[in-house]
């Protein structure tokens, strides 16, 4: 499960917001391995990530530019 990749995302979220606004990024081994322009659901993301990061620790996030300000 993406424990290290998740830590990496959480540490680099502010940089990701600048580099990949409004994109879904897949992270593996401390780097973004794919930035997806379209919005995908978790099942679709898992299908892509399994091919790109087979057997490795990976994670994903949707990098919303402003999202956190709008969640109740």
């Amino acid at each position: 499960m993406g424990l290290e990749a998740r830590e990496w995302i959480n540490r680099h979220l502010s940089e990701l917001r600048k580099s990949y606004p409004n994109k879904t990024v897949i992270v593996c081994e401390g780097m973004v391995v794919k930035a997806l322009g379209e919005v995908l659901d978790p099942v679709e993301i898992n299908e892509i990530a399994r091919k790109l990061c087979a057997g490795k620790d990976w994670s994903y996030t949707y990098v919303a530019e402003q999202e956190e300000e709008y969640i109740l």
């Binding site: 424990l3 998740r6 898992n46 994670s59 994903y60 402003q66 969640i71």
Partner: protein, 132 residues
Amino acid sequence: MILIDLEVYNNVKRLYELFEAIVDTGATFCVIGKHVSDKMGLVQVEKLHLWQVDSPLILSRVNLKIRYKEGEYSVEGVVVDINEGYLRPATVNEICKRPQAPHPLMSRIILGKSFLDRLTEIQRKEIFARLS
């Protein structure tokens, strides 16, 4: 906002899928979007009435098989049917002044008390430490 990773069992593919999860201590249940729940073959059971900000919200109960770190949990969740138009970014012509980003449940799950209560105190502290 606290974001963690966990896995949710997909009944159709018969495997666990990685989910980005929003930890929400104010939520009683875990929440999954219907667009994902249907795809994963999660069986909805009875309806449930919950309070949201200003009115009751009627949702369906669902049982979620969740894997987090070394643990496997059977957790009560609810399925929310999100308007299809909110599952994509806003367009410039939209009348409603919605946030530009798609609905957070498009690509995430909400982890409520039904999951957090199953963790050990140490695990909960580890999660909440992310706020500091």
